[in-house]
Amino acid sequence: MTTSSLTTGPSWARLPRRHVPVLVTLALLLVMYSIGVSQYRAFSNVQVIFNIFIDYGFLLVVAVGMTFVILTGGIDLSVGSVVAMTAMVSAWLLQSGLPALLVLVIALLIGPALGFLMGCAIHFFDIQPFIVTLAGMFFARGMCTFISSSSIPITDGFWTTMAQHRIGDPRGNFVSIGVLITLAVVLVAAYVLAYTRLGRNVYAIGGNPQSALLMGLPVARTRIAVYTISGLCSAIGGILLSFYTLSGAPLIAVGMELDVIAAVVIGGTVLTGGSGYVFGTVLGVLVLGVIQALITFDGSLNSWWTKIVIGGLLFAFILFQRLIGIRYK
């Protein structure tokens, strides 16, 4: 006796349903961009978009790491401070004369190490991620001021090249090397999430951690891995930031974690975990970038109106995203 099939239509018609939130976000982003173009002539320059990638590269990398964490239903508040700490440590080590490559390696190890420890505390001692990563945030920020209370400039040749090399026509449009690194990170992350067991386990844990455990999935390993990945992404982000600013400053990237979380969530990832895409996160970051660009291009807002308008645009965006998303579901 066969149970009746109740599928609601051919599978191609249903497939995009999962992608509706991302598509809606993309459409709204384009709408917002065209508003910018219609209002400000220079907005249509390709370089404006390139600049968003240059300026938001490190944020995007960090947001990719955060996507992993949020997909498991966790949260990582330490990212901003880890970014700052990585930049600070690099600047400090370079200042003390270590070779660039060694500095790079050390700097790239600190973030994941801290992430690993936080992941262990979260998993083995069953402490809420919020609080563990908050402690991580205090720690990393404390390390920054501990290393030096003022900013340290970087003069190393390798760093300068990475910072100032322009790919593209030097007079026309260009991107920085950082942008390429960013794109590489995005692609690798998207691949890992979609095509590897680790990636799928991340989604499973986000869906229901208890079920994932009972289904025999490596919950411990995956949990710890996502915080380590987030730490690694923050470290890469920190390096990119140090390319970007050619310095380590103790107070840089304060409050960045909120921007990062906002970008991830705007990109359609659900905070309770289990659903979302890296591509959505890219869109989320672009949304923040376009909002910021709109504000600078306008150039007539005073300080408080800037904040109110940022909040207002964010609200309008999310509202439309939500309303249109519901309609198409």
Binding site: Q128, F138, N208, Q210, T306, G311
Partner: protein
């Protein structure tokens, strides 16, 4: 351990209180005068009093935050709401001809509280009606709210000179700071509202499983809406205290990062960010721990450069010592009776089936 100690040791508040005690003891060892309280101008004066007074705003914000978190939400906008309400109140008072008039002060408070309620309702609508994720819904107001506060103050610090308003932050009653009584009163009010009525259980039920609650006949959306309004109201009163404490409204700095401290207090107090059970008393102890920690940094003269490292260490220590899993692993040194093994399960998260 002796049988008599067991119920005490297993009480929810035991470990947070123990941490608090350890911090106080450490301070007293460092500076024996730490606990000294003297009478000054007819008021009690001393570090413990300071801690109580300064933690009052945090307790208030924490109370509202506890309810929000109990429904599985989060409210990042409380800091901005503190700033806005403080700014509105101070602006109104500063424009009045007689700043000391009680009528003026009460109008100012009413206006500011009204504005805060509107903002809370805004948050509530975004979360419960439109269905935006709480963190992002309240982030909007967190960003824009600072702007609103500065719009009110026009970016300046509004200094006022109003005795009655000052009293909210600095006044005394029965030799103790009035702020303590306000916070305590609010705590009792919230506790009565939630524990004397069925509200607390209903909120916990919504936080524990929203769909199941809806099917049991609870108006889940209405509850969610309500907690954001309450949270905003608590934040508004906290904002009055913060501004009254320095007799001035600073749109940019008032209540800056208080949301993080409040969430931390709630979590230290034993409420899970996933929602469900909430513990008001835990939040109060959590707020006291955080304020004591800040004061310790000042009192022990820890250099600003390392202050954050110190905080990190204490926070992680507080969490570890509270975590049953940690105690189970490292606490069973003694051969005696092994404590019952905690189930090796992660905190259960309810399945969200579409």
């Amino acid at each position: 351990m002796s049988e008599r100690l067991k119920p005490i040791l297993s009480h929810r508040l035991f470990w947070p209180l123990a941490v608090l005690a350890v911090m106080v003891v450490a301070n007293t060892i460092y500076r024996p005068g730490f606990l000294a309280v003297e009478v000054n101008n007819g008021h009690l004066y001393g570090t413990p009093i300071d801690i109580l007074r300064l933690s009052a705003p945090l307790i208030l914000v924490g109370l509202g935050m506890t309810l929000v978190i109990a429904t599985g939400g989060i409210d990042l906008s409380v800091g901005s709401i503190c700033a806005i309400s403080g700014a509105i109140a101070c602006l109104h008072i500063s424009e009045a001809s007689d700043q000391n008039s009680l009528v003026t002060v009460f109008t100012a408070l009413a206006m500011a509280l009204g504005a805060a309620l509107v903002l809370g309702a805004w948050n509530g609508v975004l979360v419960s009606v439109i269905g935006i994720q709480p963190i992002i819904a309240t982030l909007i107001l967190m960003v824009a709210g600072r702007g609103l506060a500065q719009l009110v103050t026009e970016g300046q610090i509004i200094t006022i000179n109003s005795g009655p308003y000052r009293a909210i932050g600095l006044g005394h009653f029965l030799t103790l700071p009035l702020a303590i009584f306000i916070a305590l009163g609010a705590a009792l009010l919230v506790a009565a509202l939630t524990r004397r009525t069925a509200l607390g259980m209903i909120i916990e039920s919504v936080g524990g499983n929203r769909e199941a609650s809806r099917l049991a006949g609870i108006r889940s959306s209405r509850m969610v809406f309500l907690v954001y309004v309450v949270s905003a109201a608590c934040a508004a009163v906290a904002g009055f205290m913060m501004t009254a404490n320095v007799s001035s409204a600073d749109g940019n700095n008032a209540g800056l990062w208080v949301e993080l401290d409040a969430i931390l207090a709630v979590v230290i107090g034993g409420t899970s960010l996933a929602g469900g059970r909430f513990y008001l008393s835990g939040t109060i102890v959590g707020a006291l721990i955080i304020q004591t920690l800040t004061t310790t940094v000042y009192a022990m003269n820890i250099s600003p450069q390392t202050a954050l490292l110190f905080k990190a260490v204490v926070v992680i220590a507080v969490c570890l010592i509270q975590a049953p899993a940690f105690r189970a692993k490292f606490g069973r040194r003694g051969r005696g009776t092994p404590p019952p093994a905690a189930p090796a399960q992660p905190r259960q998260k309810e399945e969200v089936t579409a």
